[in-house]
């Protein structure tokens, strides 16, 4: 599968940013070389300590996290991991975050041409200091601007990650595609929260956290389905994958690849097992590749995407 600019994955099962560290942490128990790709933890220009603990808690069929982009900064990430990554067969995609367009551009410039970096995934669910703290991801102009700037700064394959915390994802997805992204990934977490047991305040040190896991799968599926009908670039689905049925659902909704996140915590071997299960499923159906499974649930070319906003009526 080609995600653009030569980012070829041997299979469509990736591990999601923030849930698989830098690929080394699970190496004892996972044959990471068998993964389609690894998206590493969000990387910023300067080191970040992240949010105050506690940072994770479980919710019904999901979890909240508020890591706050803790990472040693792009220089340290490259120093510690790039050489190792360069020796791996599995491509490593660096997830990049920032608070200004300049941040993103600088990080990506540093990644450009470094052996071991197979691509970039922009996490744009970050407050944009230039726009008074509004996230890049919720504003189509800001999303397009950061994509365009990064596009100019690198020849690396460029994936932009969509946030579900918007009223209508389609114009944003289109703007990002038009601005030169090679692929889209969707979705990042939903904004949520939990309280302390004694209800004296928020449980998470950062008050708010991102909701992930099976609970959000219906939302992720909806977004992939919507986006697949309005953009021409590949979509990588993320959100609540825990088994082959979820993978097949996301493919049918128009994704060409899938990332596994939260489910790794319960079952680190899941992503690799899904590689085998998907192959077996294709075999059962007499398919040489999983590509015919992509988009089967999408409306035909004629019944194209609606542009009337979110049509859902309760």
């Amino acid at each position: 599968m080609d995600l653009g600019r030569g980012l070829r994955l041997r299979n469509p099962l990736l591990v999601a940013s923030g849930t698989f560290g830098y690929g080394v942490e699970y190496a004892d128990v996972v044959d990471i070389e068998r993964l389609g790709a690894i998206c590493c933890k969000g990387t910023t220009l300067r080191p970040r300590q992240g949010n105050r603990p506690p940072r994770v808690t479980e919710t019904p069929a999901g979890m909240l996290n508020s890591i706050g982009l803790q990472n040693p900064g792009v220089d340290a990430v490259l120093e510690r991991y790039a050489a190792q990554w360069a020796g791996w067969r599995v491509p490593v995609i660096v997830n990049v975050a920032g608070e200004s367009i300049e941040d993103y551009v600088q990080v990506v410039r540093k990644l450009d041409l470094v052996p071991g970096i197979a691509g970039v995934e922009l996490n744009i669910s970050c407050p944009n200091v230039g726009k008074g703290g509004l996230q890049f991801a919720i504003d189509q102009d800001a999303a397009a601007a950061v994509t365009r700037a990064v596009r100019r700064a690198t020849e690396l394959p460029l994936i932009v990650k969509l946030s579900p915390n918007v009223a209508d994802i389609r114009p944003i997805a289109v703007a990002i595609a038009d601005a030169g992204a090679d692929a889209l990934s969707a979705i990042n977490t939903l904004s949520g929260m939990a309280l302390r047991r004694d209800r004296s305040g928020p449980f998470l040190g950062n008050t708010y956290g991102g909701l992930s896991g099976p609970a959000i799968k219906p939302v992720a599926l909806r977004i992939v389905y919507e986006v697949a009908q309005v953009v021409g670039i590949p979509i990588i689905a993320i959100g609540g994958v825990t088994g082959l049925d979820d993978v097949l659902d996301f493919l049918a909704a128009g994704a060409v690849a899938v990332q596994v996140g939260t489910a790794i915590f319960a079952d680190p071997t899941l992503p690799v097992r899904l590689v085998d299960e998907l192959t077996a499923e294709c075999g059962r159906r007499g398919l040489a590749s999983y590509r015919p499974l992509v988009g089967t649930a999408l409306p035909g070319r004629t019944g194209a995407a609606s542009s009337r906003g979110v049509e859902y009526r309760p």
Partner: protein, 291 residues
């Protein structure tokens, strides 16, 4: 670190709401060090995360480990319903255990409530290595006192209860003063306030305490990087910390507590830390399982 299919052999309630479960898991029993933990996955439909439990005891000969836990929520409730012969998935052993200086003769162990689970294996290791162990244990009242029958006879075991129904009336930390001079190293696990008090005691009395400690004897010498095994061995007090966990292997950065040098992952840099690695003022959390 391995993924192990562990078979429950025995499960019993040793105190009201507290369970001791023994599992057959040779790979874990062989590698476990006191202070390390396992990350347990039940077949608890609807729950998406594993649950961490300290390795309470480990016997490489029989290939068994035990965990000691309190039923507090859905995960632990599910565990209590597991029947002997049933199997669960355990990831472990995980984290850094207690660092005992080879020269230490006298170990002071301080446990509050369920914190006993964290130091229990250290008792066995220390006795095996011919050290003397004093175990100070604090809990609310008589009904919660950890049964001495579950401890080797060689341990000197002192109890404090909040209401004085057994042993000393008051906090277990009150008992520490008597043993601080005797001890070469101290190891503690329990509720955050208890650990904070201990850390304060040790910090405040560093001078006096130091006289008896090995760390002090070795004196100024070469610098050891903070958080390294060597540095921890030199610190008079090591504490087992707790935080909600995602991965338990260092990948998600979900389990950090605030250290003096910034965020520390309980699952990787910990759960055992030297007391002076922790930023006690900034450290708050879900509390520990200890009480």
């Amino acid at each position: 670190m391995q993924l192990v299919d562990a078979e429950l052999q025995e499960s019993r309630q040793i105190l009201p709401g507290q369970w001791l479960q023994q599992y057959h898991a040779p790979a874990l029993a062989a590698g476990a060090r006191a202070g390390q933990f396992v990350h347990v996955r039940g077949d608890w439909s609807g729950l998406v995360l594993r649950r961490p439990f300290t390795i309470n005891t480990a016997d490489p000969v029989t290939g068994t480990i035990s965990i000691h836990f309190r039923e507090v929520g859905r995960g632990t409730a599910w565990l209590t319903r597991l029947r002997p012969g049933e199997r669960i998935d355990m990831l472990g052993p995980l984290g850094q255990g207690f660092q005992v200086d080879p020269r230490s003769r006298h170990l002071l162990l301080v446990a509050g409530g369920l914190g006993i689970a964290d130091v229990r294996l250290l008792v066995d290791e220390a006795l095996r290595d011919g050290r003397q162990v004093v175990l100070l244990y604090g809990c609310r009242d008589a009904s919660e006192v950890y049964p001495s029958s579950l401890l080797p006879d060689e341990v000197e075991y002192l109890v404090a209860t909040d209401d004085g129904s057994v042993g000393h009336k008051g906090f277990v930390t009150d008992l520490v003063l008597e043993y601080e001079a005797w001890a070469d190293q101290a190891f503690a696990c329990g509720p955050l306030p208890m650990l904070r008090t201990l850390a304060g005691l040790v910090a405040g009395r560093k001078g006096r305490l130091g006289v008896a400690t090995l760390g002090r004897k070795r004196g100024g010498g070469r610098p050891v990087p903070p958080g390294s095994p060597a540095a921890r061995r030199r610190s008079f007090l090591q504490v087992a910390m707790e935080q909600n966990m995602g991965c338990a292997v260092g990948a998600c950065l979900g389990c950090v507590i605030w250290g003096v040098d910034g965020p520390q992952r309980v699952c990787r840099e910990g759960p055992v830390f030297a007391y002076d690695e922790i930023d006690w003022d900034a450290t708050a959390g879900p509390g520990t399982h200890a009480q």
